[in-house]
Subunit: 285 residues, 4 copies
């Protein structure tokens, strides 16, 4: 998301600087003035509020009681987000690029369903629209772009990405083979949930990740022995991704802290970044 | 809790030193004499005992059998805690500040319900009082202030607070989006527990934290596939907070081992144990 | 798998170099030309595809609908894998060694069941054959040999193998003793799943690994207390394998960064990157 | 267990060295000759075998089929262990100390039940005896004394003991308070398992350790919200013990590796413990 080309393009101001359009663009797309930051905060609260509304609409009892209120709120929020979308297109220079960018599509998708409902009502597409409305949830990702201190985390995750991929592939291989064995052992037993290999793999993932729903459990003695081995494997294996991220984070944190200065007098290194004098010979640095 | 202003105020002795009131204040609020430490220990055991009594009272079979005994014990404990509360107010100089402090309110709340029961009996408020009585459980936090070796832990947690917040926000975003997708897939299926988005989010949290109650489980094939992806995500993600705390703790422990020397010239601390000169002013140490 | 003698033997080319047989051998067994790498990639996709087919065949509804299509695909895949197996034997110099190696047997086992089905049909061995067909799943391991960046992981796991064994033995001892106590407490209670000690140990493993199916749960008060203690033990214990792997990985990563220099005099490796002289013979490096 | 005084006393040989008794004592209590090591290995296998027999006896179907065989095996094992116990007492100098030591009592308890069964049969104490027989399981701990490479693990656990205690106390406090709130919210609801505070605490421990049986689950909306918060707390908290052990293990491993030698020529430190020459100046060490 950091180097998303459409976004970096948006940071170029429109040609006629200092105009109303330019100030609007600065307000909407940047966060370098108090007003722009205020605009961002208000927008984030509105997004959070709209997500809560979408959630509440899915609860039948609330829908029955407060359905009209929720519809009203939805129309108001849709009006606000439509205005925001229109302003974004108007002020932005590379309009098509914004409209085709990930957040451009999310912005469009989050206002569309309310309008579609009016045109398509009674035509039987009601469920499809309700589903579309839920895509609004993706706006939550917009909030993520406003978290400053996430760099160390993201860096550590990116650095350990290839190792975690290898790890996940290894886990899936183990799950596939052990689940197939479980299917051979358990299939055909009365009350067994191991009706097919995909089902057994679903059980295997539920088990090795230690989620353990209990909707499918082994019923034979041999199945229980194999399941026990699998759980202990998972128990030992769960250490691996943790170890990877932990080691990466330690390195990441150490890489941020110390400086590379050597003492000009005695050559001692490993100084505190804030140190003014060499800790071994007292030479000013 | 460490720098709670009301508490630091209480450490100021009353004006007439060496009087009975001053000695009582020292006994109750401080822990610097054997007698004061003994007072603390006795109080902690009484608190622990009173919590056990509250718990046992909630078990119906015990309440029926030993109800009168428990009521008697409760009255005795209430009498002791009332005396303690009265003495705290009497000896403390800034009485209002203590009464409005967190532990002042906890102390009051833990004695009030027993008295209220007498006045309000038969008036239908019985359940409310029973609930109030449970607030006594918060006294358990008083015990926490007596654990000396918790500093490294608390420091590591505080240092990684912002990173853990970002992490939790990220997890909640993933849960929201994946749960909404699960709701779209599973809703309407027979025997499905995904009746609303909040319900689906509850399922999502149960799954991604690997708790896995099994009260709500996917029933469709697509739902199981998505749930499997979510579990593996959670499996890889669980490594992140561990890595954060682990890396912070490693740093914290290394930071403690170093010496406690302060520079005799500028008072700077946090020197390398092998340092010969102050890193900030060059003074020989 | 790294030092599997049959495989290292296969890397010796047949006597008459540059012949068609030699080029075929190079294509099949090595990965040093673009063509050979392409061959590997195609084979991996075919293996993945055949595994998906095996999985789908186990789903009854799919078997009923698309049974003939799946059988056709299976015959095509079997033909391809048979050709591959024949070419491997023809081009390989030490034929017997390849055929007795792990992957040689896996290759044979994955083509055999389809042929067996023709000869043994109607003879009641049908289920045995279906089971044999599933052994094809082991081909997934062939994919693992193509993951380059798995070395750090595998090294860290191997380095911590003895510690993880000790840890697993300790966990099993705790589980055995606690499960026996649970059996003593819970056995004979109505609705209790603790019908025997092995059953109790199965419960113990499900609990201490935090999988928690819920198919067997304590019903007595004492049993719940003991189970709670066991869970908290497991909660504290889960830290141990993570700590081991994490510490090993940290060391492994630091150990990789250092240099690959060997002493020109004695061949000693594993030097400090800053070392100027060999630590074993004093030779200048 | 390492510095158990009775055991260290046993290492003193009886007065008349080189006699049969002295050689027997050396065979049984020490492990410094091939014969003594062989004795240990045979004993460990017999203990493992006797534990399996105890387990199988608890399975009703096996008890019905092979009951007499198991009784026979049990008598043979009891005879062997009785002989071992008698020899231990005979050869050991400080007999009373051995008999009162932990393993002395375990040894006695593991042979007693078989004899008691003969004397007390038909007197209704049958169940008590069966329970006593299970105490034999504690012999598994004897195996633990033969694991050499467990030192780093045990040291790391001991070093982090106080921190893990503080952590467990903190977790229990949170569980107590949150469980009480859950009891207030959920109690009285139809189908709710939160019938008392101890029950709620059991649920709390099942949840925060991510075991999640699902035998007790929240049914109200507020209860589900609070449970979600608790799970996320547990998810973030699970990192703490891991971080502690991980940091301790890292330190433990680093503490074992390097030596404290300084080069006699240039004073350089941080050498490989196996180094023969200084890595910076080539000086023989």
């Amino acid at each position: 998301m950091n180097s998303d080309p459409p976004h970096s393009d948006e940071t170029e101001p429109p040609v006629d600087a200092d105009s109303f359009k330019e100030r609007l663009w600065r307000l909407i797309f940047l966060s370098d003035t108090p007003a722009a930051r205020g605009f961002d905060v208000v927008l984030l609260w509105l997004i959070g509020f709209s997500i809560v509304v979408v959630m509440l609409e899915s609860v039948e009892s609330i829908q029955l009681k407060h359905g009209t209120t929720l519809t009203l709120i939805e129309w108001i929020l849709t009006a606000i987000f439509t205005t925001e979308y229109a302003l974004r297109i108007w002020t932005c220079r590379k309009k098509l690029r914004y409209m085709c960018s990930f957040f451009g599509i999310v912005d469009l998708v989050s206002i569309l369903p309310t309008f579609l409902e009016v045109f398509l009502i009674g035509s039987g597409h009601f469920i499809v629209i309700r589903v579309l409305r839920l895509l609004r949830m993706f706006r939550i990702l917009k909030m993520a772009t406003h978290m400053g201190s996430a760099y160390v985390l993201v860096n550590a995750l990116q650095a350990s990405r290839s190792k975690i991929s290898v790890f996940l592939f290894g886990v899936l291989s183990i799950v596939c083979i052990e689940s197939t064995l479980m299917y051979i052992i358990e299939n055909g037993q009365e009350g067994s949930g191991f009706t097919s290999i995909p089902q057994a793999i679903y059980w295997g993932i539920v088990t090795i990740t230690t989620v353990g729903y209990g909707d499918i459990t082994p019923v034979t003695v041999l199945g229980k022995v194999l399941a026990s081995i699998m759980m202990l494997t998972g128990f030992a294996i769960i250490a691996v991704p943790t170890g990877i991220v932990s080691a990466e984070l330690s390195r990441e944190m150490q890489a941020i802290r110390p400086d590379n200065r050597n003492c000009p007098n005695c050559g001692q290194h490993g100084h505190d970044p804030a140190a003014l004098y060499c800790k071994m010979c007292g030479q000013k640095m």
